[in-house]
């Protein structure tokens, strides 16, 4: 994954340059964290890289494919197939069981039969140690468990890259530890590429590479 000369402006209420010529690359099975003070643009960068935010200058490439100017439909397909998300808030759909929540992106991609996706979802839940909660509804789980379900959902399509926006921001020390251990396990055992935005320096220190940002620029990588 590459970012080339990415700049972004916020126009409301006055035009501010929030990202200034960001250039960096991310390689397979790297566990990278982005740190920086609030408002330095780290989350903004993440959402641009995620293809959800399309209002920027410059270009990004995922798996060697340029994302600039692609239609909304193609970008949605790209996210579905190649990127997994973990947000600060879990964003599970309360209408569906935990299992169904994990299966949703897989069903959307439609590479496997529904039975097989269900089987894979169980496996992902097993990796995260919550296979016993599979048939519960999300609102019956604890905060830490919900976040683990969200990680399982991010994993379902075996994405090239998992992006996290402060995935431990809402969790207590113990649960943060669990989530970090999961990320580390994914990186080491499954060679999963991870890009995590965090303001927790302790968390960042344990990743393989740290990108530090300040005022819309990368100051260390």
């Amino acid at each position: 994954m590459e970012s080339l000369n990415v700049s972004k402006y916020f126009h409301d209420p006055v035009t501010i340059k929030i990202l200034d010529n960001i250039n960096f690359s991310l390689y397979e099975s790297e566990f990278v964290s982005i740190i920086g003070k609030s408002g330095c643009g780290k989350s903004t960068l993440l959402y641009i890289l995620s293809t959800m935010d399309t209002d920027y200058d410059g270009d990004i490439a995922i798996d060697g494919v340029s994302m600039k100017g692609k239609s909304e439909k193609i970008l949605a397909r790209m996210r579905n197939e190649k990127i997994g998300f973990v947000f600060q808030f879990h964003y599970l759909l309360n209408e569906f069981s935990v299992l169904k929540n994990v299966m949703l992106p897989g069903l959307k991609l439609g590479l496997y039969s529904e039975k097989e996706i269900e089987h894979r979802a169980y496996e992902k839940l097993k990796i995260l140690g919550i296979e016993n909660e599979a048939l519960k509804l999300p609102n019956q789980l604890s905060g830490g468990q919900k976040q683990r379900v969200a990680i399982a959902r991010a994993l379902i399509n075996d994405p090239l890259l998992i992006m996290g926006d402060e995935p431990t921001g809402n969790l207590d020390k113990k649960n943060s530890e669990i989530v970090f251990d999961i990320f580390q396990e994914l990186a080491q055992e499954f060679k999963q590429t991870l890009l995590i935005v965090t303001h927790d320096n302790e968390f960042a220190a344990r990743t393989t590479r740290i990108i530090e940002m300040e005022d819309g620029q990368i100051i260390r990588m």
């Binding site: 439909k73 579905n80 964003y91 959307k108 439609g110 959902r153 926006d165």
Partner: protein
């Protein structure tokens, strides 16, 4: 596979707010029910009222009107003079009242491709003798079989059998009001006197009720032969020829043609009863307008509920988009929610409409003026159901269209970062 997934999501969103969904569906059901019932009832009533006149009226009636000659001899005489001539108080000549050469006219008409049927008729002015009193009245000489075939004569015969007119010589079917006035019942004999003083005894074989009291008080029916005998006229004596056409709309043109071709007077049904057409079409228009208004109101209900759902499910929509559902997919989800409300509500509404109209159909509706009608009239025209069904889907589609477009354009970054 993909559509199945979208449908599953739509259903679970629906069930998550099943109370509001139900209210929206009930709104559609109610409006479709009322739409169907209103139209069925209104059209039923229209048909009844129109039938009251249209079924009994000839599309074209040929008759002979006694009038003054259009070519007066003085006009011919003074044709080339420079002065003016005035003639006053011209009287018509004593002519025969019957249509000349009626037999040939009838047989020609029966061969005409536009004509459904021809029924001859004689109108005779008579006095009914009740003791020492004479009641004025009219005896219509008819061909009972043709009269029934073309003008549903039997519908108005409330007692006795109309075929007896043909089978029993010198028989008569009296208007109900007239029979009451004369205090006679079936099997009695009444005396009638013609305007020329001839007297005849007629056996009462039935009563009829036309729905118009003034007619029932003076009119009665006898066979053509009986009437000819009464008038002392020959077997070719016919005063009116009633023609029923296959296409009622062709009546004015046909009337004009027959008038000049057979050299008689002719009047078409549209000219004779112009007020009916206008009345029915305005009534249908009003029912359609009310029905469609109801549906549009129900559509606004669906629109509101979907809008609310979108605000409530903003997070879900954002995450669906984040994990790879495109705007088009989200659009489809909300459109299918709206359409399932429309389909379900509409189907229930069609059933409800049918139920309610059948119920109205059972309510007794007895009126002296309409002897054949026992319950409220309902027209079960399948077109109303088709229109109602299509309209329920169209309104719910549009009610869902704008909220769905809004949902599909939600920016997931704004929602997710806003937390």
């Amino acid at each position: 596979m993909k559509n199945k997934l979208i449908f599953q999501i739509a259903i679970s969103l629906l069930l998550a707010r099943w109370k509001q969904t139900l209210v929206a569906a009930v709104g559609v059901t109610f409006s479709i029910t009322m739409f169907i019932t209103l139209l069925s009832f209104m059209t039923g009533l229209n048909d009844l009222l129109d039938g009251l006149i249209l079924n009994r009226t000839a599309h074209v009636r040929l008759f002979k009107e006694l009038s003054i000659s259009k070519n007066q001899p003085t006009d011919l005489y003074y044709k080339n003079s420079k002065g003016h001539n005035f003639i006053r108080s011209i009287k018509p000549k004593n002519e025969r009242l019957d249509i000349s050469n009626s037999g040939a006219i009838i047989s020609t008409l029966q061969k005409d491709a536009r004509v459904l049927g021809v029924a001859p008729k004689i109108t005779a002015q008579v006095f009914y003798n009740v003791g020492s009193i004479d009641l004025t009245g009219v005896i219509n000489g008819i061909d009972p079989l043709e009269e029934n075939r073309l003008f549903k004569f039997n519908d108005y015969v409330t007692a006795g059998n109309f075929l007896d007119l043909k089978n029993i010589p010198n028989s008569v079917i009296l208007g109900k009001g007239l029979a009451q006035k004369m205090m006679v019942s079936i099997g009695d004999v009444v005396q009638v006197t013609t305007s020329k003083g001839e007297r005849l005894s007629l056996k009462v074989v039935g009563f009829f009720q036309s729905g118009i009291q003034d007619i029932d008080k003076v009119q009665s029916y006898a066979s053509i032969k009986t009437t000819q005998k009464l008038l002392g006229a020959s077997a070719s004596f016919i005063t009116d020829i009633q023609i029923k056409l296959k296409d009622i709309l062709g009546a004015p043109a046909a009337a004009k043609e027959f008038e000049s071709f057979y050299e008689v007077d002719a009047i078409d049904i549209q000219t004779a009863n112009s007020q009916f057409e206008t009345g029915s079409s305005v009534r249908s228009l009003i029912s359609y307008a009310v029905g469609i208004t109801l549906l549009i109101v129900a559509g606004f209900g669906i629109y509101n509920i979907l809008n609310m759902m979108i605000y409530e499910k903003m997070d879900s929509i954002a995450i669906l988009k984040a994990v790879g559902f495109s705007g088009g997919d989200v659009n489809k989800i909300f459109i299918s929610i709206a359409l399932s409300i429309g389909l379900f509500g509409g189907a229930m509404g069609l059933l409800g409409g049918f139920g309610l109209s059948s119920l109205i159909d059972q309510i007794p509706f007895n009126t002296d003026s309409l002897p054949t009608v026992k319950t409220y009239p309902i027209n079960y025209n399948p077109n109303f159901y088709i229109i109602g069904g299509i309209f329920s889907i169209i309104t719910t589609y549009f009610a869902g269209y704008f909220p769905a477009r809004k949902a599909s354009s939600i920016d997931p970054v704004v929602i997710i970062r806003g937390k």
